[in-house]
Every structure is written in C-alpha cells, then in structure tokens.
C-alpha cells in the first residue's frame, strides 16, 4: 500500500509496447487499488474538489462508498451529477479541476479522483448495474442536433423526462469528438458505443447522415416534422489554419483531418479503405489535447514527431497526463517557437518548416504571459508532414440557415439565458457550439442544463 502522501499507481501499457498499438494506455485500478486510493481521502467538511468540479460531483461521498467497497453506491452518487463518468474519468483535465484543489495535493499527491471515477464507472458498466429508468412517453418530440457529449447528455435527460428524442448527426456514426477526435488509446470506442446503445434502449432515435442546415433546416424540423423544441450541440468543428505561406502544400493537414482519418475512418487498420498519409518526420503545431492526440497517433503510425509550441512547457494547455505520456513515447517538444512559413519541394510536398523563437513576457495585470517574437532568431526544422493543431471554431452552417438565431462575432451561438435558451424561440444550444472549443464535462453539463430548460419551456406550451 502507498504511503498517504503519494497515490496508488495505476497500471499503464509500457511506452515501448504502446507506441506499436492503439490499445488503451492507462489500465485503471482494480478493486483493491481503488479502495487503497480511496482510503487516502480526508473527507473534508468543505470539499474544495466539489467546488472545483464543473458539475459538482459529490466527490467525498462517492469516494467514501469506494472506501467501503460499496461500488454500486459510489456509482449512484456520481450518476446524480454526471451522465458520462467513464468518459470524464478518462478525459477531464482533473489537475486544473477537482484534483487541482485537493488538500492532499498541498504536501503530496492529490487523490486520483479521475482514476477513481473511472474505476466506479467501468465497474458498474461491466456489471451492467446502472440501468436508466424508462419513462412513459409524453408524446412530445424534441430534436437534438449533434451527438457529442452535449447532445448525448441532453438527449439522455430529455428521454428520462419522457420526451421522444431524435438525435441528428452529420457524420455516419454518433459520438462527436469522442468518436472522431479522441483516439482509441485514450478513450476506447466501446465505451462511447455503450453510452449510445444505452440511449437507444431508452428510446432515443439516432439519425446519422443528416446535416442540419443542408439536409433539413431547423425551421423545417419544427414546422414540418413536428419537433416542439430543438437543442443544438453541433460543437466547434472548423479547424483553424495560420494563414502562412506553404500551408496548402501536400503533407500539411489539420489535426482534425488526421485524427478523423485515423480514428473515425480507422485508416490505421488495413481492413478499412480510407488512406492516411503519415510522414517519417512529423511536426505538430500546437500544445493542446488535440496536438497531443495527433502527435501520439503519428508515433503509433511509425513517425518521429516534434511538437512545436509557442509558449513553454508550463503553459501547455493539454492535460498533464497526455503531455507526460507523449514525452514517454519519445515525442520531442520544441518550446517557445512559432512557424512563420512552410517550405516545399518542387513536387509540391512539404520538406521543412521555418520557425521563429519566442519569448514570454509577463503580463502586467497578472494574467497569462504573452509571447513575442525574438527578431532574427529564425530556424528550420526539416520534416515531411506538418499537422496543424491550432484550435477550432463553430461551424456556421446552422447559424447561417436558422433565422432568428444570434451569433457572437467569432461564430459561437448567443444565448438569451444561461440555461441554454437562444434568441430563437424553441431553440436551445450548448457545448462547444456556444463556448467555442472547451471540454467534455462542460459540454455535458450544458446539455443537461438545456434539457431542464427545454422541459420547463415545453411544460408551459401545447405543441404538436
């Protein structure tokens, strides 16, 4: 057993093995390990972890149940506040949320709250113990647009309230970023599929291959197909580019394209038809989760990878665990560097990237440091592939085809009320479509809030 200062180590696939496969890296706790880790919890009276959790999961309570080996009890506590714990336990940035404010973290390692959440969720899924109640239908139809965490959790709560829910998804499989973005080795697709089949069991209907705004408009969903309300959880899927010279050379791709080919289209598996180009020397530009995922996929496909990031290691926005895993997998990090142009050969393929050195300048108001270029510090990195992971913004397809919807300058859907109401009557929105690229847990919580707001709204009107 571990001493109280350090957490119980969770098993992981060894780096030299895992760079050759797409299987999950972190293997999670077994029952003994979970109980041992849970026993480190101090059961604070005013738990700071709960305050730091975006959905206020009653963390000390569920951990207490784990301590007592009452895993079902733990699962029930978590389920009151989170509908996707197996996913959030794996992908939440715990170090800046619950674990970041754990008292244990002051003099040692914080409780591994994420790993415990994952353990409880996996345990109850494997035992088939969390059964969602089915409710008598109230015969009111609600449409959910997009099947990422926002759409899934909204659909789940609406179904529990008794609505007939149809989820429209543009891609051929549901799941949103959970399916096309986050790789298998971090979030096995079987978990996402389990959540989706649970919703199907509750009567939620999934209609893939429907691009709202093209295949059918929000207006027509309401006017012609009888949906009383619509929830828009269409995410922030548009990739950003830097608009520098050479960006359209062959071998330069967005992280979204690379990850979609690898995760959604399974290009790494020769049984699937979609091709993916992978260079021998790959440069990934960016420092978020998307950059780490792209870099780690490229490593698994045989590349030597360098991550180029404008700021220093401390500022990397990616989850800490992903950075550590990436480093263990042999990925090099070129900090304080920013691309100025991409260099191509005569055949139109990338052969290098020119960067400039950057310097951190402390901000006067104590906010995030800003970065400035160091003049005449340019240098070249030779490479045969560049993956741009610079962030994404909301797709204008829905906002531009839905009269009455208001959007922010940067494309996010404006809310008339924090509950998720938009400026268009009967239309609600949440997740990355409203906030810009954020996190799974925030999208999930927005979806649930909107489900409540939709219920309130529909109670007050007659529809059909």
């Amino acid at each position: 057993m571990a001493d109280a200062k350090s957490r119980v180590a969770a098993k992981e696939q060894a780096p030299e093995l895992r760079v050759k496969n797409f299987k999950e890296v972190a293997m999670g706790y077994n029952e003994e390990e979970a109980i041992a880790e849970a026993s480190r919890c101090l059961e604070c009276k005013n738990p700071r972890c709960v305050a730091a959790c975006p959905v206020s999961v009653k963390i000390p309570q569920f951990i207490k149940h784990v301590k007592d080996a009452d895993f079902l009890g733990a699962a029930q506590v978590i389920h009151e506040d989170s509908s996707l714990p197996a996913i959030c336990g794996r992908v939440c940035p715990q170090e800046s949320q619950c674990e970041g404010s754990c008292i244990r973290g002051i003099k040692g390692q914080p409780i591994a709250i994420g790993k415990l959440e994952r353990f409880v969720a996996d345990w109850s899924r494997e035992k088939g113990l969390i059964v969602n109640k089915t409710t008598v239908s109230n015969n009111k139809k609600v449409a959910v647009v997009g099947s990422g965490p926002a759409g899934l959790s909204c659909a789940s709560d609406l179904a529990k309230f008794g609505y007939n829910v149809t989820v429209f998804e543009a891609l051929h499989v549901p799941g949103g970023v959970l399916e096309y973005g986050i790789p298998e080795f971090r979030l096995p697709k079987s978990i996402v599929n389990y959540e989706i089949s649970n919703l199907e069991k509750m009567g939620v209907v999934f209609e893939p291959d429907v691009v709202i705004g093209r295949t059918i408009s929000v207006d027509d969903l309401m006017a012609k197909e009888g949906y009383c309300a619509v929830f828009i959880g269409s995410g922030a899927g548009l990739p950003k580019f830097m608009h520098i010279a050479g960006e359209n050379l062959n071998g330069v791709v967005s992280a979204n394209e690379f990850l979609t080919r690898v995760n959604l289209m399974r290009a790494f598996d020769s049984d699937y038809d979609t091709p993916v180009y992978v260079g021998k020397n790959v440069v990934v530009v960016g420092g978020g989760n998307v950059a780490m995922d792209a870099a780690r996929c490229a490593v698994r496909l045989g590349a030597k990878v360098t991550v180029v990031y404008r700021r220093s290691e401390k500022e990397l926005p990616a989850r800490r665990e992903e950075v550590v895993h990436a480093q263990q997998e042999g990925i090099a990090f070129q900090y304080l560097s920013n691309p100025v142009q991409i260099i191509g050969n005569a055949k139109g393929w990338v052969e290098g990237i020119e960067c400039v050195k950057m310097e951190l300048v402390p901000s006067k108001d104590g906010g995030r440091n800003s970065v400035v270029e160091i003049p005449n510090s340019n240098f070249n990195v030779s490479c045969d592939m560049v993956i741009m992971a610079l962030g994404t913004s909301p797709n204008p397809l829905i906002s531009s085809t839905t009269p009455g919807l208001k959007v922010e300058k940067w494309g996010g859907i404006s809310l008339s009320d924090p509950s998720g109401e938009t400026y268009r009557k009967g239309v609600f929105a949440g997740g990355d479509a409203v906030t810009g690229a954020a996190t799974v847990i925030l999208a999930m919580s927005a979806g649930r809030k909107a489900a409540k707001a939709i219920d309130e709204y529909l109670k007050g009107i007659s529809c059909n």
């Binding site: 543009a170 891609l171 051929h172 893939p208 291959d209 429907v210 691009v211 093209r214 295949t215 059918i216 899927g237 548009l238 990739p239 580019f241 608009h243 960006e247 359209n248 062959n250 071998g251 791709v253 967005s254 979204n256 394209e257 979609t260 080919r261 289209m265 399974r266 020769s270 049984d271 699937y272 038809d273 979609t274 091709p275 993916v276 180009y277 055949k347 139109g348 797709n395 397809l397």
Partner: protein
C-alpha cells in the same frame, strides 16, 4: 441504409445509380453533391448530384471506377444498399438566384469532360427549360466514353463533341472547340460553366480569361467529412484559402489556383494505388485457394 433502385452502364466502367435517399432528394439543388460510403469499412466518397426526384425520393449519381472505393460503389447492384448517402452538400449553383426574365437573355456555354457530363445535365436542362440559350461542349477520350450525349442534346441549343482520338466529333481538346466557336464562329457567351478533370478546367479557365468571359468551375477536390470539419478540401481562390465542401464546390475559375489543386488531388494517389494493389493480391490469393 440507402437502397439502389436503378443501375445503368453509361460507358465502360462508368455507371449511373439511382438511390433512395428521400431527405437528400427533397433538399437537393443543381450544383450540390453527396458523400457516399459503399460499405461499413468504406471511405467517404464525394459525388456530384446528377439528378434528383423529389416525388420518388431518389438521387442520381454517376460514378467512374478509379480506385478501391469507387469500385465498391460501382459494384453495387439494384436492391443493394449503400451504408451512407449524406447531403446535399455544398452550395447550389449561382445561376439559381437569377430570375426567369434575366435567364431568358443569358447565353451559357457548358464545357464538360468525362463524367463531368453528368453534373452538367440537370443544369443544362434547368436553364434550357427557363429559356436561356445553352450550348454544350462534351469531351472524352473516345466515343465509347461519351456519356449522356443524347439526353443533353435534347435539352440544349447546340452540342459539340471533342474526343482525344477523333473517334467522334473534333479530334483534340475541348478548348480547341471553345476557341473555334468564339473566334471563327462568332459565338458570344455571358457565362461558361466547366466541370471535369482538373487539368481540363484549368485550360478552359485560361482560355475564357483571354476572352473575358465569366467562368465557373466545379471542383472535385479530396474530401473527408464534406461539412467543413477537416480542411482536406482546401483550395486557393484569389489567394485566399477556401474549403471546397462549404465555400464551393463552384468557384470563379479565373481565381482558382489549379496547379495547387491538381497537386493536392494527387496527394493520396499513391495510397489509393497501393490499396488497390493489395486488394487485387488478396482476391488473387483467394482464387488460388478456391481452385487449389
């Protein structure tokens, strides 16, 4: 699942399919495209909508066998299903915004190469029906590969044909015919629309630029999602990067960087080629197994 209700051979390795996709048919407009996946492990392949029938809820696509994925699409038979047909994607043709009286005074020239004849057909039909003057140049490698010729002939003022080997019509390029019509035949056009191989569209654009005729090209770039999510389809138009799937597929041909677009189109050529070879080898082995 999307059921195939009609299959027709248009030319060697070129097929026309009518597929039940009521939502797509209901929303489709000329100029838009769909993405088709033939089977569960399949690739997402963009194909221009060649026609649609809102009453029957069907869309028509014309496909040429080029690689593994188009081959799978072409191998399907009536009664089979495609796992996915998504659309309509992209923007409808620009001329749909023109009112009927304006259309009556417009002179159009369509220049299509190979299977590009399929997507121009509904546009030609629409414009001719509205009283516009419509001429068409169809190009192909040889007479066998000319598709929809009779159908198009019935719905336009003049049809001209060019084949590489001279087996029908003019022996040579569509641009020869284009130059001839304008310089020697005294034809005047307000608009040129070109759909076909990238290299053909490039030369059509160079040619019409010389004459100062507004020209629209419909680009067949690589795509993955078709909704603006990946940027695989990016092209430079007037020095600005555009996503073909959401900003196009039709662009001002005089502003498109065709050289870059052609280069990008070949990005996965080797990959596709490799895949096809693997597949053939697999089939080959199977056969050996069966007959051994």
């Amino acid at each position: 699942m999307f059921k195939i209700v009609k299959k027709q051979v248009l030319a060697p390795s070129v097929f026309l399919f009518e597929v039940e996709a009521p939502r797509v048919a209901n929303a489709a407009k000329p100029g838009q495209f769909v993405i088709v996946r033939a089977r569960d492990h399949g690739e997402r392949i963009p194909l221009t909508i060649a026609d649609y029938n809102k009453e029957l809820g069907t869309v028509t696509i014309v496909v040429q066998e080029l690689g593994v994925s188009t081959k799978l699409i072409c191998n399907a038979e009536v009664g089979d299903f495609y796992v996915d047909v998504v659309g309509p994607l992209g923007n409808p043709s620009e001329f749909l915004h023109l009112d009927d009286s304006t259309l009556k005074s417009q002179r159009f020239l369509f220049v299509a190469g190979g299977v590009g004849a399929a997507p121009i057909y509904p546009q030609v039909k629409y414009l001719y029906g509205k009283g516009a003057s419509v001429d068409v140049i169809l190009g192909a490698r040889n007479t066998e590969l000319l598709i929809l010729k009779e159908e198009i002939k019935k719905t336009c003022n003049n049809l001209y044909v060019a084949t590489d080997d001279g087996s029908e019509g003019h022996k040579g390029l569509v641009t020869d015919v284009l130059n001839y019509l304008i310089t020697s035949n005294g034809k005047i056009y307000d608009n040129v629309v070109t759909i076909g191989p990238m290299v053909m569209m490039k030369f059509v654009a160079l040619c019409t630029k010389k004459y100062g005729i507004k020209t629209i090209a419909s680009l067949n770039t690589l795509m993955v999602d078709g909704t603006g999510m990946c940027g695989a389809c990016r092209v430079s138009v007037g020095g600005v990067t555009k996503f073909t799937c959401v900003d196009g597929p039709e662009f001002d041909a005089h502003l498109v960087d065709f050289d870059e677009a052609m280069c990008r189109l070949n990005m996965y050529k080797t990959e596709e080629g490799k895949k096809l070879k693997e597949e053939e080898e697999k089939n080959h082995q199977c056969r050996i197994g069966r007959y051994a």
